[in-house]
């Protein structure tokens, strides 16, 4: 046979195989990058049993996709379900997931640890005795549901909707719960965002009208991070793999981080800035580019709202662009490299190289800030504002290799039975009028607000969230949660024990990533996808022909999922439909019956995900079957610069263009399969809706900002009391060197180790073995000065409200004058009432210290009774625990620091560090909650309230996105004050 004949034979075999929808070349293979089982074999996959070696024993699996629930990256997972035992054998990556592309960090496979955790919560529990006493009785789901539903129904009947609150950590889902709360008419959505990313969101939102960045690292020439994305930043796995791709293409990596993070070690330029100086450095880079005209003048002219700036700030409405350029240069003239060097501690030479590199990126500059410096400093929202300034100068916005806004790289489908109603009452506890520009709830101020303004939460859900441990000033939370005058009924919905659940009235067991339904979509590259989380054993059993109608049938114990729980609870709140909320979870196909999760998601996949029905049909599947089989679907790729798209002709009807170039039309909003936008604008006075902006004679979609353009100058900030901060500006941090006493240092706590994630990873044994403690990073020079002789020595770290005792790690990986301590460590469980020597109450045995909580009037203390250690359980590995040190809970000693603009808690602490005194023991914590309340007041003084500064008598700018947006009328301040200029 000739070579050509052989070639033809192979080609024919390949075509025949692929025509059957199968993969011809096997994985792993370099030929087609098929490092995973071919998907057509997922339903029946054979592997050799490693434990049977050297025997060749075949194991048959059915591979079921789901979505990781361990952080907000929501990477794809593939559960290997043993067909004989119907147990999950392992989790690997899902190659069909467009964001993670089959790759996972350690937390994904460790889902198996969480599922088999011997200490997990398996049944609904109800408190016996006092809150926090630690005594529980098992109750049925029916009993818990009826009790909780009764309370909520009564609150609704008595028009106390705002007394129902849902406090969420990382949501890990799109739209289900917010739709439900809207349907309930409850303005009680309470997110953790103000202890997390609110600051960066405010900065990005001020520019783009969209609050999150979606950097295209893979195609960038320069990647500029104010974060640690190669190890732990937001969406770190999907982003890290793309940063590596960019690096392979030759991209330069610049990292601003005071600490020598793993990310910094990969950088071409590591800039260990003095904490809080980051905006000064970024503005100096901008100024350098402006002075040299090394920016994209055409883009700035076309897409910045520079005319608005010239009109309102300079009083020159007719000024040409060249005059704006001069004004811009003048405005930033003070930000020289020399100035930045003084503020940041980075040399002028290094900064000059960085400026040259950034300017050389052209439009291929990808940048990111999420927490890090943004979430750490007073005025930290200017980090993102100053960072995106560089993108805006270069035109590196929503083009290949640049930074996109989240909304264009994310797809949230419209659900069945949209809520169609909004809360009518404003929740003062979550949205106090002192913070009109905060984009998220002032959740962590609740104890203080309730303490002096009253307020009562009748039914308080904490959902996979642990404010006692995660938030600053946790003892104030303990006081609030144990006060029946403040919290009527606390329902902790959690898969695993946590410090907040100890103070609950009900603890309801919720599923991990492989035990629940959710739908997610995240901005991780220039594309849009959806990812489906599902109870994998439910799907596995259904593949075997079983009928499963309730996720509890397949989950361990009586562990449930939230979707079915909320549907059931809604029906019990409104059993006869009288309250008008039951209908939102009523079957479309079977009126009068409850909607099922299959119907809910089936409808979405049928109606709201373009392209999915067609692709599924090609494989002979329904869209729901497709998603249950493959777990993810890419809706669009290469979205590109939406702002440059022309507004379609059929959306232009009786058009009016205002003086600022904004275009309004009478054409109705076209029907869309997507959920509604979160940024909204009022119609113009004659009822036309805004459709775009006129740019150089064309009507384009533009940006969802008040001006329709990128907002260099923010009218919103200027009009709501912050004119001096309306353009990218350096606001001095509360830990600026000049704010510190001579013996104070900065404590940096905004980083974590990549294998742990807040509360959720508590009892993941593989992760705990890798990382379980959080020593204090301290430079040798400081250690010497303070008498800390070696790594492991105890030090006492004193904050403004108390202190904690921790071990030192003497390292040159931190700037002198700064100490650092990772969060995500220092878990604890209270000692049992009997003081039994085997430790504390229920909890995660692998990672929690047993502690005694003591209160003496305003002073609280936490004494560590014992650390981690081996113990007997259903998992023999718990007898092999070799570590005792599980870290120190530093957040208890942090007072609240609400930024007056963003509302973000500013995490950096000014501390005094000294060698531990003779009575100090590892893990000791002492806090004065009255001092904490005084610090709250001191920061409250910085605010500029809506009452004094609202330009239109409303509580906050209507256009800015808000979770569970109430009615327009609810935005009105009770007694509209006269507008206050400036």
């Amino acid at each position: 046979m000739t070579l050509d004949e052989l070639n033809d034979r192979v080609l024919a075999a390949r075509e025949a195989t692929e025509a059957r929808g199968e993969t011809f070349y096997p994985g792993p293979s370099r030929i087609h990058l098929a490092a995973y089982p071919p998907r057509e074999r997922w339903h029946d996959w054979v592997e050799l049993d490693a434990r049977a070696w050297p025997e060749r024993v075949e194991k048959r699996y059915t591979l079921v996709p789901t979505t990781c629930f361990n952080c907000e990256s929501a990477c794809g997972l593939l559960a290997y379900v043993d067909q004989d035992s119907l147990e999950v054998q392992k989790f690997e990556g899902n190659p069909e997931h467009p964001g993670s592309r089959g790759r996972n960090c350690a937390k994904g496979p460790a889902t198996l640890n969480q599922v088999t955790d011997p200490d997990r919560i398996l049944y609904p529990l109800k408190r016996v005795g006092e809150r926090g006493e630690g005594r529980w009785q098992r109750v049925s789901w029916d009993e818990a549901l009826d009790d909780i539903a009764d309370r909520i129904r009564t609150a609704m009947q008595e028009e106390r909707h705002e007394e129902v609150m849902y406090h969420v950590g990382r949501p890990g889902e799109d739209g289900f719960t917010t739709r439900m709360l809207s349907a309930w008419g409850v303005d009680g959505h309470n997110s953790h965002t103000n202890v997390c990313s609110a600051s960066a969101r405010v900065g990005f939102n001020a520019w783009m009208g969209m609050d999150r960045p979606s950097p295209d690292h893979a195609n960038a020439d320069v990647i500029l991070l104010v974060s640690a994305h190669l190890e732990s930043g937001h969406y770190f796995n999907p982003h890290a793999q793309r940063i590596i791709e960019g690096r392979k293409r030759g991209a330069k990596l610049i990292v601003l981080d005071t600490r020598l993070s793993n990310t910094s070690t990969h950088a071409d330029h590591w800039l260990p800035t003095i904490p809080g100086s980051e905006p000064a450095l970024l503005l100096a880079l901008a100024s350098w580019m402006i002075r040299r005209r090394r920016y994209n003048r055409a883009f700035v002219r076309r897409w910045w709202n520079w005319q608005e700036y010239m009109e309102h700030v300079r009083g020159e409405p007719e000024a040409p662009f060249e005059e704006f350029e001069e004004a811009l240069e003048e405005r930033y003239a003070e930000y020289t490299l020399e100035y930045a060097a003084r503020e940041s501690g980075i040399s002028v030479e290094e900064l000059e190289q960085v400026a040259e590199t950034v300017a050389g990126a052209g439009t291929r500059l990808s940048t990111h800030n999420w927490r890090s410096a943004g979430s750490a400093n007073l005025g930290g929202w200017q980090v993102a504002r100053s960072l995106f300034f560089l993108n805006a100068l270069l035109g590196a916005a929503a083009v290949e290799g640049a930074t996109y806004p989240n909304a264009w790289n994310k797809y949230t489908p419209k659900p069945p039975r949209p809520a169609g109603r909004k809360p009518t009452r404003w929740n003062e506890l979550l949205w106090p009028e002192e913070y009109p520009l905060a984009m998220h709830e002032l959740s962590y101020l609740m104890p203080h607000l309730m303490k002096e303004r009253g307020g009562f939460v009748d039914t308080y859900f904490t959902r996979v969230y642990n404010p006692v441990w995660t938030n600053p000033d946790g003892f104030s939370w303990v006081e609030m949660l144990t006060d029946h005058e403040k919290i009527g009924c606390h329902v902790a919905m959690t898969p695993t024990w946590n410090e907040t659940a100890y103070f609950a009235d009900y603890v309801l067991p919720m599923g991990h990533g492989s035990e629940r339904h959710d739908l997610t979509s995240y901005e991780q590259y220039d594309g849009q996808y959806i990812s489906f989380r599902q109870p994998v054993l439910r799907e596995a059993r259904q593949r075997m022909g079983e009928e499963v109608t309730d996720t509890r049938q397949v989950n361990p114990g009586e562990v449930w999922e939230e979707n079915e729980f909320w549907m059931e609870l809604t029906w019990r709140i409104d059993p006869d439909g009288e309250l008008g909320i039951r209908r939102f979870f009523e079957s479309l196909e079977r009126p009068g019956e409850k909607m099922t999760v299959d119907e809910y998601y089936g409808w979405i996949f049928d109606h709201s995900v373009p392209g999915l029905p067609e692709v599924a049909a090609e494989r002979g599947m329904t869209p729901l079957e497709y998603m249950r089989s493959y777990g993810a679907f890419e809706v669009a790729r290469k979205v590109g610069p939406v702002y440059e798209e022309a507004v379609p002709d059929d959306e232009l009807e009786d058009v009016r263009v205002d003086a600022a170039g904004r275009v309004f039309s009478r054409a109705p909003r076209p029907d869309s399969p997507r959920a509604g936008a979160s940024t909204v604008f009022d119609d113009e006075s004659e009822g036309r809706r805004r459709v775009g902006v006129r740019v150089e004679g064309e009507i384009l979609k533009g940006w969802p900002t008040p001006s329709g353009k990128l907002e260099f100058w923010s009218r919103t900030l200027a009009e709501w009391g912050w004119p001096e901060a309306a353009v990218p500006t350096y606001l001095r941090s509360h830990v600026h060197p000049e704010e510190l006493a001579e013996d104070e240092m900065v404590l940096l706590s905004t980083f974590r180790l990549p294998v742990q994630i807040h509360t959720r990873s508590a009892n993941a044994k593989w992760l705990n073995e890798i990382a379980h403690t959080n020593p204090l990073w301290i430079h040798p020079r400081d250690a010497g000065r303070l008498g800390v002789e070696r790594t492991g020595d105890l030090v006492r770290v004193e904050t403004e409200i108390g202190y904690f005792v921790v071990k030192a790690w003497v390292t040159e990986g931190i700037r002198p004058g700064v100490v650092a301590c990772s969060h995500h460590m220092g878990r604890w469980k209270p000692q049992s009432p009997s003081g039994a020597p085997d430790g504390g109450l229920q909890g995660a045995g692998q990672s929690m210290a047993t502690v005694a909580l003591r209160q003496d009037r305003e002073r609280w203390s936490l004494d560590r009774m014992s650390g981690g250690g081996p113990y007997a359980s259903s998992d023999p590995d718990t007898l092999r625990i070799w570590w005792t040190d599980v870290g120190v809970h530093q957040n208890l000693t942090h007072a609240v620091h609400p930024d007056p603009v963003s509302g973000q808690h500013c995490w950096h602490q000014a501390v005094r560090v000294r060698a531990a005194a003779s009575g100090d023991a590892y893990g000791d914590i002492s806090v004065d909650v009255e001092k904490a309340h005084r610090v709250y007041h001191a920061w409250l003084e910085r605010t500029r309230s809506a009452t004094r500064h609202s330009p239109d008598g409303t509580r906050r700018p209507y256009w800015i996105a808000r979770p569970v947006r109430p009615t327009r009328e609810a935005y009105q301040l009770p007694d509209p004050p006269a507008p206050v200029a400036g």
């Binding site: 070349y25 792993p28 293979s29 370099r30």
Partner: protein
């Protein structure tokens, strides 16, 4: 321009990957004997012959380095993201097949000029990054592999030999400028054993199997460990005998290279020349070592 059949190359590329059940079907389609199990693959490609260009063309005879970077640059130049092991044989054959498919696509779309450019890229890949090292590598696979692997190597050689076309008039610059085996009498002997294991310097692929044969011939034991460690040990125990045996090996290889077809003229010239030079140098060193054995005061070659 003549070129190796793309799908055939792709199938042959897959067969250089770790064993999988699908290999059986591919082997049948190609009329090859049944493939070995996983250990057969590991014996050959993990312990004897490493299917990476960098091992065969790098001055240290090791994975990675400048050769891999150069090949990664080629991937980028043709608009593709280099995979983690850009110089692995399977990746290179797969890339070649992909370029051929791409060219065919352009041709179908009537984009003749673009198709021609992509064809040239595919040819450049063959001449620059595959043919410079594959012929001696495939020789050894035929000699050391299972019947399946030997037949695979023969088929791959035939496929490549059928297609390279005229190609450039000279061997690639990196091959022409590849450093030679240094004379330890002039350059010092510290790295001599390491250099002996760099094929591009010596023209000889010295495998673990070859070292075992040498040791057996000399009546010596082969130390368990990496090849350099084992070779150092042999040179220490019996320098002249070891050098003599390696010289003989190089002569044999030069002889076998001469039998390559005319289409492999340029690599043949290079490999024959290197192997002959190595044989000559080692022979001289062996003779001197023999003298040293009778004169313990004289300096050692290694």
């Amino acid at each position: 321009m003549a070129a190796p059949p793309a799908e055939l190359l792709r199938a042959l590329a897959v067969l250089a990957e770790p064993a999988s059940p699908a290999h059986e079907g591919l082997a049948r389609a190609l009329d090859l004997p049944a493939p070995p199990e996983g250990s057969g693959w590991a014996d050959l490609f993990l312990f004897q012959l490493h299917p990476y260009a960098s091992v065969h063309l790098g001055p240290e005879g090791m994975l990675g380095g400048e050769v891999r970077e150069r090949i990664a640059g080629f991937w980028r130049a043709v608009g593709r993201t280099p995979p983690p092991e850009a110089d692995h044989l399977s990746a290179l054959l797969g890339l070649h097949a992909a370029l051929r498919d791409e060219a065919a696509g352009h041709r179908e779309a009537g984009e003749e000029a673009v198709a021609e450019l992509v064809e040239r890229s595919a040819a450049a890949l063959l001449h620059e990054h595959l043919l410079p090292w594959l012929p001696p590598f495939l020789d050894r696979v035929e000699a050391l592999g299972t019947p399946h692997q030997a037949a695979w190597a023969g088929l791959l050689r035939a496929t490549l030999a059928a297609g390279p076309g005229a190609g450039p008039s000279e061997a690639p610059v990196h091959l022409r400028r590849a450093p030679e085996l240094p004379d330890p009498r002039a350059e010092g002997g510290t790295e001599f054993a390491a250099h002996l294991l760099a094929p591009v310097r010596t023209g000889v692929l010295v495998t673990r199997h070859d070292l075992a044969v040498v040791a057996r011939g000399l009546g010596l034991g082969l130390r368990a460990g990496e090849r350099r460690y084992a070779l150092d040990h042999l040179l220490g125990l019996d320098p002249s005998g070891t050098l003599e045996a390696l010289a003989e090996l190089a002569r044999d290889r030069a002889e076998s290279y001469r039998r390559w077809p005319e289409s492999l003229e340029r690599p043949r010239r290079f490999w024959v020349s290197r192997a002959e030079r190595t044989a000559g140098l080692l022979q001289e060193l062996a003779a001197e070592a023999q003298t040293v054995r009778s004169d313990p005061e004289a300096p050692s070659p290694s």
